[in-house]
Symmetry: C2
Subunit: 404 residues, 2 copies
C-alpha cells in the first residue's frame, strides 16, 4: 500500500465529463489498495470569471474579499469531485483549507503556508475515505481565507505531501510530463524520465509551464518526490527528485524558450554608484520582476554606461514609465526598447562539471548565424537573448548540439 | 444610533447593478450613524445552478458535499457586496458561518442553529465596519459546512438579530411587505402595517411567500422585531412583532390562497383502529407533508370510511404510490384524486375572540355559490378547499366580507 497525493488542474476538471474521468482514475488507484489524497483546482475558467465579477462590482479590490471570492472555485470543484467518486461506490470527503488546518500568513492573494495540521485528513484516510482537498487556499490565524497565488494548487499538493509524508506527489496536467524542449518548437523534443529539483526549478522559471516555481522550491526543500503526468493517458510522466549519480553525467537536460519578454535599454547613464539602485529600486517598488540584466561600458566614452534588462511583456508599460522617471533624474541619454526578442536557455546540473557548455552553445549559434544580443549565466543554466524570429531555429539547434 | 440586521434575498442581488444598489442602501443607513450587519443570499439562481451541476456529476447526493457546494453561493455574494460597499468609501468585511461562529447540528441541508458566538462580528462592528454575512450556512462542531434549508438566509438574519440583540431585523425582498391577500388575486389587497408573529406564521404556512415559516418561529421565540420591505423603494414595509391591544380588535388580518395542492381520497376503508396510521405512516416514511385531512363516514354503509387529504403537487406521484400500497393492504375501495383545487384561508389572532368568523365565511361563499369541498380550522385560521377556478372569486369575496 502506498499513499499518493494527486493534484488535478483546472483543465483536468473543466466539465462534468472530465470530472467523472478524474473520479475513475482516483478510484482505480484506491481500489489497488492505496490511500489517496486528491488536490483539485477550480473548474476551467471559474477563477477568471469570479475576478471579472469583482472588477464589475468595485474598483477597490480588497485582497481579503478577493481571496474569499476566489477560494469558492476550489470548494465547488472539491465537492463535485467527492460526489463523483462516491457515485462510483467509494467513500470520499471534500475538505477546505480551514478543515485541513492549512495555516498561512496574512498576505492575501499570495499567502505562504506556515503550518499544516494533518489530524482531520488522517482521520478521514484512516476511515478508508478518499480525501478531496480544495487547492489554492489557506486560512490565517484569525480564520480569514487566503489564497496562495498563481499555481497555488500545486503548492497545496506539495505542502500536503510534505506534511503527511506521502510516498509520491503526482501533478496531473494536460501534457505528458517535462520535455527536453517545447514540442511546438522542435519535433526532436521528448519527455524526460527524470529530472532533479534544481533543474526543474530553472526549467519552470524559464517558461516550462507544467509546474510552478514555488511548488518546485517547496518540493526541493522537503524532498517530496514529484511526478508530472497527463490526466488523459495512463503513461508514466516525469519524476522530479533529488540528484542521483546517473543524472550527473548528462551536461544539459533541456532547452527552454520564452518569448514573453521585452528588453529595455537605458543609454549613457553616469558610471557612478547608486545608478542601478535607482533604476531597479523603482521597478521593485512596483513589484515588477526584472529578469536578465546586462551592463556594458565598453563602447562608450569614459564615465557612461548602457544598462539593458528584460521584463515580462505584461509589466512593460508600467516598467517603462518608471524607467523614464529614473532616466530623467539621472540625466541619462534616453531609452530604447525591443520586444522582438526571445530568451533561449539550456539547463542541466551536469554543466557544473562540464565547463565547455557555454563555448559549445555560443559556437553552435554562431555557426548558424544566430545573433546573441544578451547573455546571462548561472551554475546550471545559460540563457541568451536572440531575435524572436530565430527562436525555433535556436531551440532545434541546441537540442541537437547537446544530443537531447 | 441603532443596530440593524438587514437581509437581502437572491433577487435583490441578482446582478452587478443590483448589488451596487444594495451597497448604496446599506451605506446610507451606516452614514446616518447606525451599525449595520447585512445578511445576503446567493446571486439570483446560483444555488439552482450548483444543484444542477451536482445532479450531472453524481446520482449519489452526499448531503455533506451538497452543503459545501451550495454554501459557496453566499460566499461569492458576501465578498462581492463587501467590495461594492468599500467601493463607496465605507469599510466592510464579509464573514462566513465559521468566521461568525454559527454552530449547527449535523443535519446537512436542513441544519438547525445551536449557538452563535458573536465575538468576531462585534470586533468588526466596533471597528466601524459594515459586516456582510453569508446567509444560509452554518458549521458543525467538526467544522463541516452545513446549510439551513429553504429560506435559510431569513433564518440566519433572525438568528443573528436575536444573538446580537439588534434593534430590528429588516428582511428586504421584491415586494413591499405583507399583504392582506395576493394582489394578483384581488386589487383590493393592501399592505399591512403591522402583524403579529402568530398571524405571520399562519400566513407564511399558507403560501404568503415573503418569509419562511422557520424564520418567523425563530423571531417569535426570541421576540425579534421584524420588518418585511422592498429593496427597490424607500417605503416602510410590514412590521412583525408581538401582539398589542389594537391588533386584537381585528378579526381577520389576511386572506391567502394556495393552488399547489392535490387532493387524494381513499374510499371505503375499514372503520377500525390503525387505518389512518397505516396510510399516513407510509407518507411520513417518505417525508411527505400532509396538509388538510378529513375523514367522513356519514354517506357510507356502516363499517367503512372515506379519508381525504391534500399534499403538495410536487409530492403527489410519490404520495399516490404509497397510498395505493396502503389501500391494497387495507382492502379498500380505490383511490380518487383531484388537482383542480385551491386552499383559501383567512387568518387572524382576533378570530379567537370572535366565534362568528366561520359562519360569516361559510355564509359568504355559499351566497356566491362557491362550493366548499373540505374544511380545516385552527384557533387563528380557517381553511377551505374550493375548485381552482373559484380561487380569485373566493379571495375577493372574503377580502370584502372581512373588510380588509
Amino acid at each position: 500500500m502506498a499513499f499518493y497525493v494527486q493534484k488535478y488542474g483546472g483543465s483536468s476538471v473543466a466539465n462534468v465529463k472530465k470530472i467523472k474521468n478524474v473520479a475513475r482514475r482516483i478510484v482505480d488507484v484506491a481500489r489497488q489498495g492505496n490511500q489517496v489524497l486528491v488536490v483539485v483546482s477550480a473548474l476551467g475558467d471559474t477563477t477568471d470569471e469570479l475576478i471579472e465579477l469583482a472588477r464589475e462590482v468595485s474598483s477597490v479590490h480588497s485582497r481579503r474579499e478577493m481571496d474569499l471570492l476566489m477560494s469558492t472555485g476550489e470548494m465547488v470543484s472539491s465537492a463535485l469531485l467527492a460526489m463523483a467518486v462516491e457515485d462510483l461506490g467509494v467513500d470520499a470527503v471534500s475538505l477546505t483549507a480551514p478543515q485541513m488546518g492549512i495555516k498561512t500568513d496574512v498576505a492575501h492573494t499570495r499567502a505562504r503556508i506556515l503550518h499544516i495540521d494533518g489530524e482531520r485528513i488522517w482521520n478521514e484516510l484512516d476511515r478508508g475515505r478518499i480525501v478531496v482537498a480544495a487547492g489554492f487556499q489557506g486560512m490565517t490565524e484569525d480564520m480569514d481565507i487566503t489564497t496562495l497565488g498563481r499555481g497555488g494548487s500545486d503548492i497545496t499538493a506539495v505542502a500536503l505531501a510534505a506534511a503527511l509524508e506521502a510516498d509520491e506527489c503526482e501533478i496531473y496536467t494536460d501534457v505528458d510530463g517535462v520535455f527536453t524542449a517545447d514540442p511546438r518548437r522542435t519535433e526532436d523534443a521528448h519527455k524526460l524520465e527524470k529530472i532533479n529539483y534544481e533543474e526543474m526549478l530553472e526549467m519552470a522559471s524559464l517558461g516550462a509551464e507544467v509546474l510552478q516555481v514555488r511548488a518546485v522550491e517547496f518540493a526541493w526543500k522537503y524532498e517530496v518526490k514529484l511526478q508530472v503526468r497527463s490526466s488523459f493517458t495512463d503513461e508514466t510522466g516525469t519524476i522530479i527528485q533529488g540528484s542521483d549519480e546517473s543524472m550527473e553525467e548528462v551536461e544539459v537536460r533541456g532547452v527552454t524558450a520564452d518569448v514573453n519578454q521585452t528588453r529595455i535599454t537605458v543609454a549613457d547613464v553616469p558610471d557612478q554608484p547608486g545608478v542601478a539602485a535607482k533604476i531597479f529600486g523603482k521597478l521593485a517598488d512596483l513589484n515588477i520582476n526584472v529578469d536578465m540584466i546586462v551592463q556594458s561600458s565598453a563602447t562608450h566614452s569614459e564615465g557612461a554606461n548602457d544598462i539593458s534588462f528584460t521584463v515580462s511583456k505584461t509589466d512593460f508599460e508600467e516598467a517603462f514609465q518608471a524607467v523614464e522617471e529614473a532616466d530623467e533624474e539621472l540625466g541619462g541619454g534616453g531609452i530604447t526598447t525591443d520586444d522582438n526578442i526571445a530568451k533561449v536557455s539550456v539547463v542541466g546540473t551536469g554543466m557544473r562539471n562540464h565547463p565547455g557548455v557555454a563555448r559549445k552553445l555560443f559556437g553552435a549559434l554562431g555557426a548558424d548565424e544566430i545573433n546573441i544580443e544578451m547573455i546571462s549565466t548561472s551554475e546550471i543554466k545559460i540563457s541568451v537573448i536572440v531575435e524572436e524570429d530565430d527562436t525555433d531555429k535556436a531551440v532545434q539547434l541546441l537540442h541537437k548540439t547537446f544530443e537531447l
